[in-house]
């Protein structure tokens, strides 16, 4: 039987991977990350995880 993925872990994984890619591009000099871009990205990442946690509820 197929088991539905845990949406909280899925969203958190995607958000953290995305942030990690941004940071890797910055550290390797491909892009120059500033607070103007980083802060919204961080808040969006944390917000997405909190929303996923709120909408998903406790795991059964």
């Amino acid at each position: 039987m197929n088991r539905a993925p845990d949406r909280l872990l899925l969203v958190a994984g995607l958000a953290i991977s995305g942030l990690g890619v941004l940071l890797l591009l910055d550290r390797t000099g491909v892009i120059d990350l500033h607070f103007g871009y980083a802060l919204p990205a961080i808040l969006a990442c944390v917000g997405a995880i909190l929303l996923a946690a709120g909408l998903e509820g406790p795991r059964r």
Binding site: L9, G13, I16, S17, L19, V21, L23, L33, G36, L50
Partner: protein, 356 residues
């Protein structure tokens, strides 16, 4: 937290967002949001308060929700009818803009960390057992508080460790680790695993993001450094400090005709550059978070960056300064001018970048 409370449903069985008439401090907005999303309303209250000091955004958002989201008992915050709600919301929004506009905005950045600490405290408390029913055993309360304190201490230590590791040049490795951690979470989502794994992944990625955004580089050590070159040949191409206070005093130097260049780089801290009275100063300044004052030019906030070209008409010897501060303040003053930290200057005290 009211885990048992259910958000009201409309006729189609869809959950409706309503303001809470029972869990309320002002208008029940946070209580309603908490009930709708199934999280502790205090998180929304902290967010509203923090955003209130960030240009009044929290106040405006609260007023909008207060005006347009119905209460679960059918009452209206501004009297009967939707028009009364809209008029009330506009009046309150205008009031908020007046009260929380500049210069009150400067309070915002300082209060965000306070709100973050409060938020983390609440999350840790809940992680250690959540709210306690009346009549709980004092021993259990102490045990939960101790666990929350230890978890907090460990998280803070890990945060500081990652921050330092990133700041001394380990950012690339940490970014790769963050990507790997994210991929591991995605795999875990399909095969099943503990949700607490999200916390260490965030502790890994958040300090790295701060270091990257502020471009913090703590190579160069820590502490107080004072440099007072006496001749042009003694001026270093670069003065660097990881964390602390750096002062470069060039007052004793007689600058030659032409351009003399130097650079100041501080990861976290305060840099003061004193320039000779007759120098025409040009600069290229970058500050991740903080304050920069180069003679008659000042700027503060996040991502502070400006170029000061100087007057082409001036025949005075030129000093070009490249300054890069991660988090902190840069001050370039002429002669014996007092610096910001030792007595605030008025605009009339500040001399221009190039002498007449």
């Amino acid at each position: 937290m009211n885990e048992n409370a259910q958000s009201p449903k409309d006729d189609g069985g869809v959950r409706k967002l309503t303001r809470s008439s029972t869990d309320k401090m002002i208008g029940g907005v946070a209580g309603g949001l908490g009930r709708y999303f199934g999280v502790d309303p205090i998180l929304f209250r902290i967010a509203f308060v923090a955003l209130a000091f960030a240009g009044g955004v929290g106040i405006l958002a609260y007023i909008a929700l207060l005006a347009f989201v119905p209460a679960d008992d059918g009452t209206s915050p501004f009297g009967a009818g939707r028009n009364a709600n809209v008029i009330g919301a506009i009046l309150l929004a205008l009031l908020a803009l007046v009260v929380f506009g500049p210069p009150a905005f400067f309070l915002g950045p300082a209060l965000v960390p306070v709100a973050l600490v409060l938020g983390i405290g609440v999350l840790l408390w809940r992680a250690a057992g959540g709210s306690l029913p009346a009549g709980s055993d004092p021993g259990k309360i102490a045990a939960r508080a101790t666990i929350a304190f230890l978890i907090g201490l460990a998280a803070l230590g890990a945060f500081a460790g990652v921050f330092l590791l990133a700041a001394i040049g380990g950012g690339t490795v940490l970014a790769i680790l963050a990507i790997v951690a994210g991929m591991a979470l995605i795999i875990t989502a399909f095969i099943g695993g503990a949700r607490w794994l999200v916390i260490p992944a965030l502790v890994l990625v958040l300090p790295l993001a701060i270091v990257a955004a502020a471009d913090i580089d703590v190579k160069g050590g820590a502490g107080e450094r004072h440099y007072r070159p006496g001749t042009v040949s003694e001026i270093r191409p670069e003065y660097r400090l990881g964390m602390g206070e750096l002062e470069v005093d060039l007052r004793a130097v007689t600058l030659p005709v032409g351009t003399t260049t130097t650079a100041v780089k501080v990861g976290v801290g305060h840099a003061v550059v004193r320039v000779p009275d007759d120098a025409c100063v040009t600069s290229d300044v970058q500050v991740g978070v903080g304050h920069a004052q180069v003679l008659d030019r000042t700027s503060d906030g996040v991502d502070v960056a400006f170029v000061q070209p100087g007057s082409l008409a001036s025949a005075a010897p030129r000093l070009h300064l490249d300054a890069d501060i991660g988090i902190g303040a840069l001050e370039v003053v002429r002669g014996d001018d007092p610096v910001f930290s030792r007595g605030y200057r008025t605009t009339s005290d500040i001399l221009p970048a190039c002498p007449a």
